[in-house]
Subunit: 273 residues, 2 copies
């Protein structure tokens, strides 16, 4: 998907909602467990209930991989089922030496046909560049994550006064462009979102941590907005586990709708739609 097509979707759906597809067999509605592929059936119900509200879906690969080959089948079916005009993010946090990253890129872009993949920057340029060689495919690079451990290394200040996450933001702009790279910027570090926006003006941010992890949508927009919206705000648990019974997908839709309506209001206020 191109950047223009993504922006068009945001305008059309009045939404910058990304839904995290993290299916956990201990948490999904019990009646699905008797299906042949409970994970796919769960995702299918969520996609059916929210595809007019979400502009992106983000399957977290760990939740599939833990079921081995079967899990990879559920993942493939899920990605095949997502409508083509919705942006897909394989949340895999990969990154390895060049020839290995190339294999990962082929896996996520050619085999699974995801639009993007999350990549960890620790190994530097040649671990990221192979992902940027695919037309209309995206790297979503970890910059400032929403977890507690983010402070351990990402916040380390270098002798030239730059924190590691700032260095990642600057250095990686020599590899990718706003047309093929986004950044992960956690909503739990609000004080830094403005800083990140200052460094990466034109880039989209994938923002996890709104809801379950405590971040506020209003504040994310206050500090992270750019002229093209520039935000994909992810919610996983708050939406996909909103319901338990046979009609769980109604509650899933309600939870997604609530966030989408807040987003529509913001987009109107910003005169973006």
């Amino acid at each position: 998907m191109t950047r223009g097509e993504l922006i068009e979707q945001i305008k059309k759906k009045r939404s910058f909602l990304c839904i995290g597809l993290d299916p956990d067999l201990n948490k999904i509605p019990e009646h699905l467990l008797k299906e042949e592929d409970p994970i796919f059936e769960f995702n299918k119900a969520i996609i059916d209930a929210t595809k007019d509200l979400a502009v992106a879906y983000k399957p977290n690969i760990a939740f599939y991989e833990c079921h081995g080959a079967r899990g990879w089948e559920s993942l493939k079916k899920t990605l095949d089922y997502i409508p083509e005009d919705i942006f897909t993010i394989a949340d895999a946090k990969r990154g390895d030496i060049g020839n290995t990253s190339r294999y990962y890129a082929e896996t996520f872009f050619n085999y699974l046909k995801a639009d993007s993949v999350t990549v960890a920057p620790y190994m530097g340029s040649d671990s990221v560049l192979p992902f940027l060689e695919f037309e209309n495919k995206w790297v979503v690079l970890l910059a400032l994550t929403s977890n507690e451990g983010a402070k351990d290394f990402q916040m380390i200040e270098s002798i030239d006064g730059e924190k590691l996450f700032q260095r990642v933001l600057k250095c990686s702009q020599e590899w990718g462009t706003p047309e093929n790279m986004m950044f992960v910027v956690g909503a739990t570090r609000m004080e830094h979102i403005a800083e990140v926006r200052h460094i990466a003006k034109d880039y989209f941010f994938l923002v996890p941590g709104v809801g379950a992890q405590g971040g506020s949508l209003e504040e994310v927009v206050r500090y992270g907005w750019n002229k093209d919206c520039g935000l994909l705000v992810n919610s996983s648990r708050g939406i996909i586990y909103a319901g338990k019974g046979a009609n769980f997908s109604n509650q899933v839709r309600e939870a997604a709708k609530k966030l989408q309506q807040e987003m529509a209001e913001i987009l109107r206020e910003k005169k973006f739609v």
Copy 2:
């Protein structure tokens, strides 16, 4: 596997050789392509030819994942086939927020039954700790990698004069111990191996980059040796693609044997055996 059992294997086999199982359908002997599972048959031949010479096998997950569910089956069969007294390293370079890392840990330790998994440190403590909660299982943490891009972030110097990889080495010793954690230390940065050994005296290092990537075994030992050997030296392409024809496994064995004999000589010189 425990640290004691690993050291015992090193003494018994007079070897600290790790063989990287990176099966590439474009490179494996042609006659295997007609098999139902060429990747597993290739690995099986390599394991059969080298299991008395290697103390560890390291499948690189990217080479399996790119075949989707089928690749995961080949990976599972490969790990099941490796004799129990040989250390296994799932080279996956995972790392995510806590609840996700827990799923990855379950995948590699419980489902695949690997002894260890490589982990990227960028997301800090809670991305690594879940892997350390499994008895007799290991984290192999990226510290100083052997690729060109290693200089981009790993070598950044902080205001307190510490490079990022040094900070990773120190900080992570508050999470793990020499009994459940090793470090990846590339053989292409010889000038730093002594430095790394100084910071992490008792830890095992997984050393990639000997052979194909240019590092020398003798120098790795000169700077990286500790009282328990403390080294697992990996070779992938140099061994697994040593032969092409029907009898490729003979050449594979020769290539592994050559390295193992150099190692046996070193172990004797060091009076370790």
